[in-house]
């Protein structure tokens, strides 16, 4: 849960980020008001200037938010257990491949097929994530190094598989998956004036709930948190530290793998060869960081970053460089990383009315 104090820094960071974005817009000679109008349009579909409403924009904004919430959960889960999973990107690609494989090769009736696709993606992403976990547990190899390297392996594995394993005709995409394997929803699409909105939000919401439940309410999460904060104490208490590292990376990878499936069977309907990583994993780090690694926080910051992504074309149509959105996103992350500095400033501002508590009571 986000406590009031815990939410203070991200909230201030977001305000400062938008202020900085507005400043940069003003420096380019455009009106910051246009930027906020574009953001409002992305969020609600309301176009103030034209006095019109188009529900396609909020639909697209949610489509952007869904996968980065999942990669945010992936990174956040690892963080909560003392690990840095920088490999969500690769786990996502492997999850997407597994989704394509089950979609193309395993025939099944409607709902069952989608469920199998999602579970396969989670299992594949989980296993991919468990590799750095196992290497860390067994040989004490740092998980950051291994998971970064595995991102490249996953990228090339993906591109090889799309062409040679799934027999891509155009060397770019696999054959289209059968409708039973997809999360497409003509109804949701129609409701949002033809956006790509799909049933993907169902696994995303379930994942958010599951994340909260596992971390905060289960003995499994308790053990993982203890290992994450103090490995020595966990060992002293009789916990299986090595097993816990592997398990944590598996769960972390599973969230990222699910993100891959949500993109592939929710938005595209086929597997894609890609020239380079698409940045979902790194967005996940930002989402987890700003969201304080809590389920509620990841949900909110996922919405925010999804909005910033979705608003880019709208800003461009207002004559505002779309890179402004990236500047805002980057500066929010920067300000959150300056947590201590912000807390210090807030403390100084408050020092007038409330005395600062001494750091430690006497021993």
């Amino acid at each position: 849960m986000l406590g009031r104090r815990a939410a203070l820094v991200p909230a201030l960071a977001i305000l400062l980020g938008f202020a900085l974005g507005a400043l940069v817009v003003a420096m380019t000679g455009r009106s910051p008001a246009d930027m906020f109008a574009a953001l409002l349009q992305g969020l609600s579909g309301v176009n103030l200037a034209a006095r019109s409403f188009n529900p396609r924009y909020p639909g697209e904004f949610l489509v952007q938010a869904m996968p980065i919430m999942l990669t945010g959960l992936s990174v956040g889960f690892a963080f909560r257990t003392g690990l840095f999973n920088i490999g969500a990107e690769g786990q996502l690609m492997v999850g997407s491949l597994a989704a394509v494989a089950v979609g193309l090769w395993v025939p099944a009736p409607t709902v069952v097929h989608v469920a199998l696709v999602l579970l396969a993606a989670m299992a594949a992403g989980g296993l991919w994530g468990a590799i750095p976990g196992w290497l860390k547990a067994r040989f004490n190899v740092h998980e950051v190094v291994v998971s970064i390297m595995l991102n490249y392996v996953a990228l090339h594995l993906n591109n090889w598989a799309v062409v040679d394993l799934f027999h891509s005709v155009d060397h770019v995409k696999t054959p289209i998956l059968p409708a039973t394997a997809l999360l497409r929803s003509p109804a949701l699409s129609a409701l949002t004036n033809g956006s790509r909105l799909n049933w993907g939000f169902v696994p995303v919401v379930l994942s958010l709930l599951l994340y909260w439940f596992v971390i905060e309410r289960t003995t499994f999460g308790f053990g993982l948190r203890a290992v994450g904060f103090n490995r020595e104490c966990a060992r002293y208490a009789g916990m299986k530290v090595n097993r816990s590292i592997v398990a944590s990376m598996f769960v972390s990878g599973a969230f990222a793998g699910l993100a891959g499936a949500v993109i592939t069977v929710g938005i595209f309907g086929f597997g894609r060869a890609i020239p380079a990583a698409e940045g979902y994993g790194f967005d996940g780090i930002a989402v987890a960081l700003v969201g304080g690694n809590t389920a509620v926080g990841v949900f909110l910051s996922g919405l925010l970053f999804g909005l910033l992504k979705a608003a880019q074309p709208l800003m461009q149509s207002q004559g505002i460089p779309k890179e402004i959105a990236s500047i805002i996103q980057a500066s929010i992350v920067l300000f959150v990383a300056m947590k201590l500095g912000i807390e210090y400033l807030v403390g100084r501002l408050r020092a007038g009315d409330a005395p600062a508590a001494p750091e430690e009571a006497g021993t």
Partner: protein, 490 residues
């Protein structure tokens, strides 16, 4: 939190002024104010009759106030001399004048009888010598008022004796010493005056020479404290913990414990004493399963547990109060109530089918907090990191004693605790003994060993140099065994 409530303190030049108080009484906060680490909300400070403002440690140094912190602030890979002159190096042109620096350090060390090797690296010298380096740092900066924050907590009994002698010498040279402690014996030995703090308020200031230890303890705790541990004679039963020819290596790969054999019976306390670093840690790690055993066996209630992991040893009835509460005993970033179920969170009543039962966890915490007088701001929901060291220790002890394991390995259970808390924990340990539990007590405090133990085993150089009856031994005999100068078969 209000740590100091309208505290007034007057320290006379050329005296040793002790500051006595329980864990969390506000001693360290008060000294933090004097040294510019904690800004006061109200009040004033006078030095040599002049009102001063101390905003940071530089102001304090300029006023001639120096502080030896409980945890030393030294650069480990620098030499003694480099540490002492750091920030105020004598220079020749742009370079440090090492010769003059070393000369000045030698001068100071001679003048005050502070034996140090100016060329040694900090990481290579003993804790006692590191502390002398801290004192020299203050003297090098011309400190007139020297504050010692629980300086003997980290020292061996011999080093502590030496430190007290050094304090007297400093005072003889005209310096003023403020000595924060909760050890009454040391106050009697060295202090002229003693100010007692309780829960952030001054209870009184008394002359140390004419006030009895009992009276000071009563002022500090607010009730009569018994120093003598009353214990009934032990009624030892069967051997429940046996260590046979145990060999354990330490983390650096050296042999820490060589061929150690011990037996602890149900209903008795076996004290294990020795100078720090003579194999106690390795022995405990071998028994509790934290380190791999090279050779030999550990038997728990007759069962060979040498190859079993920690969890299974715990399940068979082994408990452990670890030496280092921060490293092993607690997860500081979790709440107090979570720490209190760190062994048992995965089974009823604290969880059912993998789901934590928070109401049960909170009830458990509330009971232990009350039973062991753990002082924490927000009850079970207190972040463990925000608690004072003494109260963290109480939490660990409470958790382990409450589990009431058949065999309890207790390492330094009262380190950093005040007399009131020590009395309580000693009583609880003996109560466990009287309920037929076996206790292996590892402590560096000889007094504690002699007070609680029924038998005492002495470790020296990783070997048992003797096992004696506690009632028929003396500190002197133990000292000889600890130094390896004597051996005694049980």
């Amino acid at each position: 939190m209000l740590a100091n409530d309208r505290v007034s303190l007057q320290v006379e030049q050329g005296s040793v002024h002790a500051l006595l108080g329980e864990n969390g009484a506000g001693k360290s906060t008060l000294m933090g104010v004097l040294f510019g680490l904690v800004p006061p909300d109200s009040g004033a400070i006078w030095v040599h009759g002049r009102e001063v403002r101390i905003a940071d440690p530089n102001d304090a140094t300029a006023l001639g106030i120096g502080m030896v912190h409980q945890h030393f602030k030294l650069v480990h890979n620098f030499t003694v001399t480099e540490n002492i002159v750091l920030g105020r190096e004598p220079t020749v042109g742009p370079t440090v004048d090492r010769r003059r620096a070393a000369e000045r350090v030698r001068e100071l060390s001679r003048a005050y009888g502070l034996a140090v090797d100016p060329e040694a690296r900090i990481e290579d010298i003993s804790v006692g010598m590191q502390q002398r380096v801290e004192i020299l740092k203050m003297l090098y900066r011309d400190a007139e008022i020297l504050i010692f924050d629980e300086p003997t907590a980290v020292l061996t009994p011999q080093e502590a004796q030496e430190l007290l002698a050094i304090m007297r010498r400093l005072v003889a040279e005209g310096k003023t010493v403020v000595f924060i402690t909760h050890k009454l014996r040391e106050i009697k030995a060295v202090a002229d005056t003693c100010t007692v703090l309780r829960r952030g308020r001054v209870v009184g200031t008394v002359p140390a020479a004419t006030t009895s230890e009992a009276a000071m303890a009563e002022m500090m705790v607010g009730r009569v404290v018994s120093f003598h541990v009353d214990k009934a004679p032990a009624r030892p039963g069967e051997v429940v913990l046996a260590v046979e020819h145990l060999h354990v290596r330490n983390p650096r790969g050296l042999v820490g414990v060589k061929d150690v054999s011990l037996e602890v019976r149900a209903g008795e306390v076996l004290g294990l004493c020795g100078i720090d670093g003579n194999g106690q840690a390795e022995l405990v790690r071998g028994i509790t399963g934290l380190s791999r055993v090279e050779a030999g066996r550990v038997l728990l209630k007759g069962r060979d547990v040498t190859a079993l992991p920690v969890k299974e040893r715990n399940a068979l009835g082994l408990g452990h109060i670890p030496e280092d509460r921060h490293r092993h005993g607690l997860v500081l970033d979790m709440h107090l109530d979570e720490n209190l179920v760190i062994h048992a969170y995965d089974r009823p009543p604290f969880s059912h089918a993998g789901i934590l039962d928070f109401p049960a966890i909170r009830r458990h915490a509330a009971r232990l907090i009350g039973d062991f007088d753990v002082r924490c701001g927000q009850g079970g929901a207190t972040p463990t990191r925000s608690m004072s060291g003494g109260n963290q220790q109480k939490a660990v002890v409470a958790r382990e004693i409450d589990r009431s394991p058949d065999v309890l390995v207790v390492v330094q259970p009262t380190r950093g605790l005040d007399v009131g808390a020590i009395e309580h924990i000693h009583r609880r340990i003996l109560a466990e003994r009287d309920r037929g539990k076996a206790i292996l007590l590892v402590s560096l405090e000889l007094e504690e060993i002699l007070d609680l133990s029924d038998r005492v085993a002495v470790l020296c150089g990783g070997e048992v140099t003797g096992t004696v009856e506690a009632a028929r031994t003396s500190e002197n005999e133990l000292g000889l065994l600890m130094s390896g100068a004597a051996r005694k078969a049980s």
